[in-house]
Amino acid sequence: MDTNTAILLTMLIPAAAAIGNLLLRNHANLRDSMTLGAAFATFATVLVILTNVGNSTTEAFSLLTVFPGLDIAFNVEPLGLMFAIIASGLWILTHIYGVGYMRGNNEDNHSRFFASFSLAIGAVMGLAFSANMFTLFLFYEMLTLSTYPLVAHKGTPEAIRGARTYLGILMGTSIGLLLVAVIWTYTITGTLDFTQGGILRGHIAGPMVALLLGLYAFGIGKAALMPFHRWLPAAMVAPTPVSALLHAVAVVKAGVFTMLKVGIYIFGIDFLADTGASEWLMWVAAYTIIAASIVAMTKDNLKARLAYSTISQLSYITLGMALATSMGALGGGMHIAMHAMGKITLFMCAGSIYVATHKTNISQMNGLGRIMPITYGAFLIGSLSIIGLPPLGGSWSKWLLIVGAADAGQQVMIAVLMLSSLLNVAYLLSIVGKGVFWPAKAGEATQIKESPTLVWLPPAITAFGCVLLFFYATDIRDFLMPIVTASR
């Protein structure tokens, strides 16, 4: 299969799965296995693209031209390919988990749920392989819209309110700010193609660069830069599989992925470094890192705590771009993978606890660790990876980010990253600590069992993945290297 067909297939298979889900609404088993098949097929197709890299079949291609110079076009590029691999690979696990979770909790509207889910994955694939900002924007909005029904899934007033915040902030920022930035870029440069080294040099200068970057940075609401972060906690009303794959991996990573793409291919790392336009963004990211961590400590609801942790971790990646050094960008790129693996583990563990006990607040979870050893074991590993301790994947991306900060001569940023790790320890390990060392309420030990296999197995696998990523970090770094080779 050549790469072009494969790229189209990565979008068409999930789209077909979405339609299939709606058609097979009355055949639960057939429907869910069909989606699982689609998830495997999508992952396999992405792997085909991976094996094709370097062959002659790898090329950029345009599906159709919307305006002169504006195509719906796709290409393969390391960052996007890595994102596609993560999202499609984790889709398989999340789907298995999702089936277990939705049935375990007797949720309604399974067809609509899995259809929207598949559609969201299709949008992520399109986003990952976008060859220009126009195409990326198209899929960015499609992702927002396809995840809306998932957030509003329960249909309760609370869910509807959460979904409103979700949609309002994401669409408000993207149409109100990002679209302006994109059209501005197009107006001054005449192109929106992602180009090594950026397209803006020579077209814009002075404080306008920082202004344009600001429109982009805040316009990409999915990156959850403060003060546009509130949609993420609001999205936590969604069923946990959604929080796990979409709001720890696909949607939020789509945000920071866009951020990196803009930094690397629209502005260009060197251009940012030369103009110093991203320096303010660095401080905003640093503020978000610390502030979100502190807010996370105050949250008793487990998913809310994890959401704020995600906000904090996303700004690591924005920070990596804003440092405007190649190590920073590389570290940011790598953190997409590392954080994805760690955070999905944590969310699936949260869901596992919910399925087994129907508890959402950390203060009620005393002693559960001894009853649910696998869930808590996976949670511990995921936490350690987020904190950045070896031998877990998260340590490498944090390392690269610190090197990047040192390259940029920003010692304060090193301190921020270190402080953030300490805060991570405080708000993540305390959960494990309470689960293991505090006594359970009387009677719980006998009533509560470990969650069903379909629910505890996926987080166990991703926890193992966190370990694995530690040993394969060099490969990921080498794989991502082309995104920064042109600069320095």
Binding site: L64, T65, F137, E141, M142, L167, M171, I175, G176, T187
Partner: protein, 508 residues
């Protein structure tokens, strides 16, 4: 004009500019004369369909070879009436005839529920007259002829609106209001034409333009310009001259609203553009000031005020009516930028909004057929009862917001680009800012349709296919023209070029 062309034998294809009018115009009395309820629809459909085919042929020919001039009855302009077609009116002809044709199948079931059976034949007569009038306004190159066709379309529209009286008696007062304001507008317009005739001694648009270019403007012509702007502004529902629109759209039968919402105001805006750019050139200070200090502020006001009002409506149809007023603001803003990109944005939005709004009003009509009313309270949970209708509404609603991949996005993109090109940052932000209001009012509908439970006892029951298919054709078109902009953008750009030609030649 070359005299020999007129006297040579002509093929049918040379007569296309007049056939597009004559066929529906003659079919209208035909439906009355035959007087059969069953035959009225096929006659009407045949007429609109042939006009649609002709408009496609005309557009292709205009894009290919340039302006077409047709002298009615062989009387040469400027004495005779000239039909003059360039890209601008060919494009609007296409919009009007396409919507007129696609709405017709939709009318069958829709009017059965909303209009007494004895009026059905007359309904199609009025529909055809309205259709003819709108096409005539667009096709003609004679200023007085514009007024004649305008009255043909307006009078029939008043009747069509009043036909909603069976479902809601308020349709009568709505039609009456529309009659009073529409006639006021038409009177203003004809006064303006009278002044022009007094000052220039001609009614042919090209001739007037030539006269103004040579002799310059004077107080009489400026007065004429003012009268025409206000008169057409009323017809186009330019904020704050929009007061007739919400009631007329709300209480008219669904099929009528679907037809006139996408066409009537658009045609009035076309006339505005024609007078602003072809007849008067916007290089004389009076017009520039009028545009810069009156039209652009009013456009921005419409974008925000009408969107805000729309967000607080409790009736779907009424909400859409206010949204139309806001969207007209976008079109006027594009015109007011006085640049090629701005005008392109205006023309492309004219088209894109036309199809989007038609799709939405068709969707409302289908909901009304089942729910009995378009109040939000009555359409709760319809996403489950009528999944296909509801999803089409969602698609068209996204186009109204301007989500990428839909037609509305294309127009918004070009409009913002036009503002940025000129460095008008506040206007660019106003466009995206008011889109945010559109998110609010569209999302209220989507939440109502999907997040509420349908009333007890509702079973899944879709709208009849004659309604569903036209609805989906329009909803599909909003996606199609959001992705493949070859036709719309080429036509809009050529039209903008044509309109600005006088502007540029006038010397800036």
């Amino acid at each position: 004009m070359s005299a020999e062309v007129i006297h040579t034998a002509r093929t049918l294809s040379d007569h296309l500019p007049v056939l597009i009018i004559v066929i529906p115009f003659l079919s209208a009395p035909l439906t009355v004369l035959i007087g059969s309820r069953r035959l009225a629809w096929p006659i009407a459909f045949g007429a609109t369909l042939s006009s649609f085919v002709i408009s496609v042929l005309l557009l292709l020919r205009v894009l290919d070879t340039g302006v077409i001039s047709y002298a009615i009855g062989g009387w040469l302009p400027p004495v005779g009436i000239e039909y003059r077609i360039d890209a601008a009116n060919a494009f609007v002809l296409l919009l009007v005839s396409a919507i007129g044709t696609i709405v017709l199948p939709y009318t069958i079931q829709s009017i059965k529920a909303e209009i007494p059976e004895r009026h059905h034949t007359l309904f199609y007569t009025m529909y055809l007259l309205c259709f003819t009038g709108l096409l005539g306004v667009v096709v003609t190159g004679d200023a007085f002829n514009v007024f004649v066709f305008l009255e043909v379309s307006s009078l029939s529209t008043y009747v069509l609106v009043a036909m909603g009286a069976r479902t809601d008696k308020r349709a009568l007062t709505a039609a009456y209001d529309y009659l009073v304001m529409g006639t006021t507008g038409a009177t203003f317009f004809v006064i303006g034409i009278g002044f022009i005739y007094a000052a220039t001694g001609t009614l042919n648009m090209a001739d007037i333009a030539r006269y103004i270019q040579i002799h310059g403007t004077n107080r009489t012509l400026e007065t004429a310009f003012a009268f025409i702007m206000v008169g057409m502004g009323l017809k186009a529902a330019v904020y704050p001259l929009h007061l007739w629109l919400p009631n007329a759209y709300t209480y008219a039968p669904s099929a009528v609203t679907s037809f006139i919402a996408g066409t009537a105001t658009k045609v009035a805006i076309y006339v505005l553009m024609r007078f602003m750019f072809t007849i008067f050139q916007p290089d004389f200070p009076f017009e520039i000031h009028a545009i810069r200090w009156i039209m652009v502020p009013l456009a921005v006001l419409a974008m925000f005020a009408a969107s805000l009002i729309a967000a607080f409506q409790r009736d779907f149809k009424r909400m859409l009516a206010y949204s139309s007023i806001a969207q007209i603001g976008y079109i006027l803003l594009g015109i007011g930028l006085l640049s090629k990109t701005g005008l392109t944005a205006a023309i492309v939005h004219l088209f894109n909004h036309g199809i989007t709004k038609t799709a939405l009003f068709m969707g409302v009509g289908a909901l009304v057929l089942r729910g009995g009313s378009s109040f939000y309270a009555k359409i709760e949970g319809m996403g489950k009862v009528m999944p296909f209708t509801s999803f089409a509404i969602v698609i068209a609603g996204l186009s109204l917001i301007g989500v990428p991949g839909t037609a509305g996005f294309i127009s918004k993109w070009v409009l913002v680009q036009a503002a940025i090109e000129l460095g008008y940052w506040p206007l660019a932000l106003a466009v995206v800012g008011s889109s945010l209001l559109a998110i609010i009012y569209v999302w209220r509908v989507i939440e109502t349709l999907y997040m509420k439970q349908p009333a007890d006892g509702w079973v899944r029951q879709e709208a009849p296919l004659t309604m569903l298919v036209p609805l989906w054709i329009m909803a599909g078109a909003t996606i199609w023209f959001g992705i493949d902009t070859e036709l719309t953008m080429t036509a809009a750009r050529t039209a903008a070029d044509g309109l600005l030609h006088g502007f540029m030649a006038g010397g800036q």
